[in-house]
Assembly symmetry: none
Homo-oligomer: 226 residues x 2
């Protein structure tokens, strides 16, 4: 999966330079001239790294990062800065920067530092790959756990497979043959009604009150999560 880098710099030339070159080496780049929409983008999109000018017109970069950190946003940050006084570098690091490069910077060095920072955070983000989620149902395949909101529920292996398949295909109707093929690995010797029972049992566990209707029945076809 492509890594997403968010760049904030009020100098349009630098912004374009970075957008062009980072895209060239395979990153997805989102450039911004100010911090106006950064918070929203961070909450809505998967951002792996922030590259930010230390001297933004609307706010001091390091103050902005400090604010992000206080909101528990841990996305790594590399500062760019025309300043190169030790005091500024110190300030940047202290407020939560992961690296610091002074302009004029060498593009290749920046690429290497990006790679280094992303590498360090790779492990953590890796864990989130095996997380499937649908509304307030969270399925953690690493921990073999299922949460409805904050409550953990216990599912059997069959129920887990079923839920996993439903979430992975959320919005699509899965018919009995599809389910039998993918979960029971057998469409011949297994009763079709077995699926009904399995679905019923899953429904009961993820929605004991029967008021959420996560799993919808499409009569004559199959089931879907919607």
């Amino acid at each position: 999966m492509k890594e997403h880098i968010l760049v904030v710099d009020d100098d349009n030339d630098i912004l374009e330079l970075l957008e062009y070159n980072l895209s060239l080496v395979g990153y997805d780049v989102l450039g911004f001239l100010n911090t106006k929409h950064v918070r929203r983008v961070l909450s809505e999109e998967k951002i792996d790294l922030i590259i930010m000018d230390r001297n933004l017109p609307d706010i001091e970069g390091s103050l902005y990062i400090e604010m992000l950190r206080s909101k528990n946003i841990t996305t790594p940050v590399i500062f760019l800065s025309a300043k190169d006084s030790q005091k500024d570098i110190k300030d940047g690091f202290l407020r939560g920067a992961d690296d610091y490069i002074t302009k004029p910077f060498d593009l290749e060095e920046l690429l290497l530092r990006i790679k280094a920072v992303l590498g360090r955070y790779k492990q953590e983000s890796k864990q989130n790959l095996d997380n499937l989620q649908y509304n307030d149902i969270k399925l953690d395949l690493n921990l073999h756990k299922v949460f409805i909101g904050d409550y953990e529920i216990g599912l059997t292996r069959l129920e887990t497979s079923l839920l996993q398949l439903l979430i992975a295909n959320k919005g699509k109707v899965l018919d009995r043959d599809f389910l039998l093929k993918h979960i029971w690995k057998d469409t011949q010797n297994i009763h079709k009604k077995t699926v009904n029972v399995a679905i019923k049992r899953l429904k009961e566990k993820i929605d004991p009150g029967k008021d959420k209707e996560y799993i919808k029945t499409i009569r004559g076809v199959g089931y879907l999560l919607a």
Copy 2:
């Protein structure tokens, strides 16, 4: 606990400068003029960071790091170098450096970069210390003792390894293959049910009354501490 920094530089002046100043700000510093004893020290002592000259008389610093990395030694490394060509910086990063500073370097910047690198690794190294505790179970690996609350219990070697692995991965389900691989170092010639028995024996020792349920069984998968 003090963080330990291993410094390798053939320039005795720089070595002394670093030993003096890093000690001053609270690090434990071990200085070496060459790599001769570095491997041994790394295996015998708790080293949190390596600062290494890129141009050592006995070996190229980056080659040495590459060797360490190939031996699965992941201690973070900051390179010092008189060279400042981009090619050299690139080479250093590619071979597993975590940061790169060119001489003459500003001491305060070095301190900040040390702090940044150590900060990133804090989480990981934290686990490896004697932080092995889960609720009222305390595992002291130095004294080879285990306490439940204030009461010491005697565990065998196998039971201790098992408990250690469970605590180090608390909250995660460890399946039989994982346990066999990490504790028995063998997934082929050892019965899978051996794990059941070992877990049963551990359960009995840490919870004789069977009322705490430290170790949970996830049917079809494995066990976890939760």
